[in-house]
């Protein structure tokens, strides 16, 4: 289930289940969105991106959904594996923001065997 810790919301899932990580973005003019995965002690790693003219984009085991009406982004991970355990950040690029990514607060995904 989901819980809110002192600093970072945590999503706990069983190995093999599907995970859904949600993100609310702030700027209705943002036209580009990225999901990053950050493992402990490492830099953010690109997972998948989506532009504002799309509602859905699929990658390998991951799907990003964009709902511009409510300014909501989600990342779906199919058949979650222990290696997926990390902190996941959504990031938005405001229009004309010249690659000025604004990151969301992040969600920790904990995968249990």
């Amino acid at each position: 289930g989901e819980s809110v810790g002192l600093h970072l919301p945590t999503l706990s899932v069983q190995e093999g289940d599907n995970s859904i990580i949600n993100c609310a973005y702030s700027n209705s003019a943002s036209d580009y969105f990225i999901w990053y995965k950050q493992e402990s002690g490492k830099g953010p790693q690109f997972i998948i991106d989506i532009r504002s003219n799309m509602d859905k984009r699929q990658g390998q085991r991951v799907t990003v959904l964009l709902n511009k009406t409510v300014k909501h982004l989600s990342l779906q991970i199919a058949a979650t594996q222990p290696g997926d355990s990390a902190v996941y950040f959504c990031a938005e690029n405001p229009t004309g923001g010249y690659n000025k990514l604004i990151f969301g607060a992040g969600t920790r995904l904990a995968v249990h065997p």
């Binding site: 600093h7 580009y32 830099g43 532009r51 690029n93 990151f103 992040g106």
Partner: protein
């Protein structure tokens, strides 16, 4: 594996020291960035360079001084830092365009100010 390389991985410095963080990329990207990340927080933008010129400074204190010697290198010079400046400093790079481009991050340099 990231193609953005940062050195050193760890740095401990005193408040009177002068040190530098270095970043290198060979992806042909013409935009390079410095981000600062505190524990359990998202990365925060500090500086953006585009075609080796500083294009964004997010009101960063002058004790942080960026430098872009060429299209592949980005430095962050540090002087008279405070303990609260201790953080993970991330370098990143991307293509340059008027719309969004994927920004690729290095593994970061862990800075501790004592």
């Amino acid at each position: 594996d990231t193609e953005v390389t940062q050195t050193p991985k760890h740095l401990v410095m005193g408040m009177t020291n002068k040190k530098s963080l270095k970043c290198e990329q060979h992806m042909g990207h013409r935009a390079m960035y410095w981000y600062k990340q505190k524990a359990k927080k998202p990365p925060e933008l500090m500086f953006v360079y585009s075609y080796e010129k500083l294009s964004i400074n997010e009101s960063v204190p002058s004790r942080f001084s960026p430098e872009c010697p060429n299209s592949s290198l980005l430095n962050l010079h540090l002087h008279a830092l405070q303990p609260e400046d201790s953080a993970l400093y991330l370098c990143a790079s991307s293509q340059v365009s008027s719309s969004g481009n994927t920004i690729y991050f290095g593994e970061g340099s862990w800075l501790t100010v004592v």
